[in-house]
Subunit: 188 residues, 2 copies
């Protein structure tokens, strides 16, 4: 594959396959992302899909990888207000079908597929690290007395939004977000 990666036709068919894989995923779920379905959706020969991605688990993982993850990126004081803003933005993202698809596919497929599990682990570490860093900085500035280990903040803060969106299939309102932020520590 390395020798042909500069070929514009190769790049075009690669892009068409990724787009088709995302469309099939959003409409029918990860189990539907097969070589045959993706080839049909892309209007491309099945053999071409095989040439680019011999395994559909890798195709699925790559089709999901283009989703950006901008949350908790740039901590800002006062940290409590920043956290409320970031969690509100995340909750609004989790109102969308496609974001729920990405989240549940990541969690589910990772149980059986190594590529997906590596993505899940990177994603989880990124969020946990960003939140822990923001809380430690807030503590060092005297903004908060933490009720929790900083590395637990991601599960405590994101978990309720994720459960509400993917198990209860509902929306997270500002009352829940305030409760979540206050569960992390006593803010001054």
């Amino acid at each position: 594959m390395v020798a042909t990666q500069d070929d514009p036709r190769f790049l075009r068919s690669r892009e068409a396959i990724l787009t088709a894989a995302r469309e099939v995923l959003l409409a029918h779920g990860p189990g539907a992302v097969t070589h045959a379905r993706v080839a049909e959706q892309a209007g491309i020969a099945r053999a071409t899909v095989y040439r680019h991605w011999p395994r559909t688990d890798q195709l699925l993982a790559e089709a999901m990888a283009t989703v950006p993850m901008p949350f908790f990126e740039a901590p800002d004081a006062p940290t409590r207000e920043w956290l409320v803003r970031e969690l509100t933005a995340l909750a609004r993202q989790l109102d969308h079908h496609d974001v729920r698809v990405i989240a549940t596919t990541l969690a589910g497929s990772a149980l059986w597929e190594d590529d997906m599990d590596a993505r899940r682990a990177r994603f989880a570490d990124l969020l946990a690290g960003r939140l822990a860093g923001a809380l430690e900085a807030a503590r060092s500035r005297g903004e908060v007395d933490l009720h929790t280990a900083p590395r637990d903040a991601a599960a405590l803060a994101i978990g309720p939004l994720y459960y509400r969106a993917t198990i209860e299939r509902g929306t997270t309102d500002e009352g829940v977000i305030a409760t979540v932020v206050d569960s992390l520590g006593r803010w001054r």
Copy 2:
């Protein structure tokens, strides 16, 4: 199907198919639960699997339905201690691969399949109702000043455990459980 349900061979093959579907699900994920794979796993003709379950989404939903859901069933005072016990039991369940499979399959497959979505909704309502009832009873006994609407308690209490188990793929310790319980209200 109604006419043959009392036939012991019918019941035996039905049971064998459900067992095989569960085995395929746990080992390879919901996408692998196809008529062909389940027939092979059960050592049964594919036509027999089709006769019992014309659609694999219904087979998958039924294969998962045998998992019991004993959590938050019988509230007991003092409510804070009962909650800690129940959440600890749930966290220990979520340490197991098969429980993580059930949880992520329920959340994921429900996005595309009506049968699974109905199960997801019943499951979510059951847990939210049990927790809300327990917290309202605790409040009426003067055990707690709630920080949250009782119907939000399930997302707040279960969400962190679910995120830790399925996104972070880790275990929930007693520190997180204490933080979660204290986020629900001021316990006296």
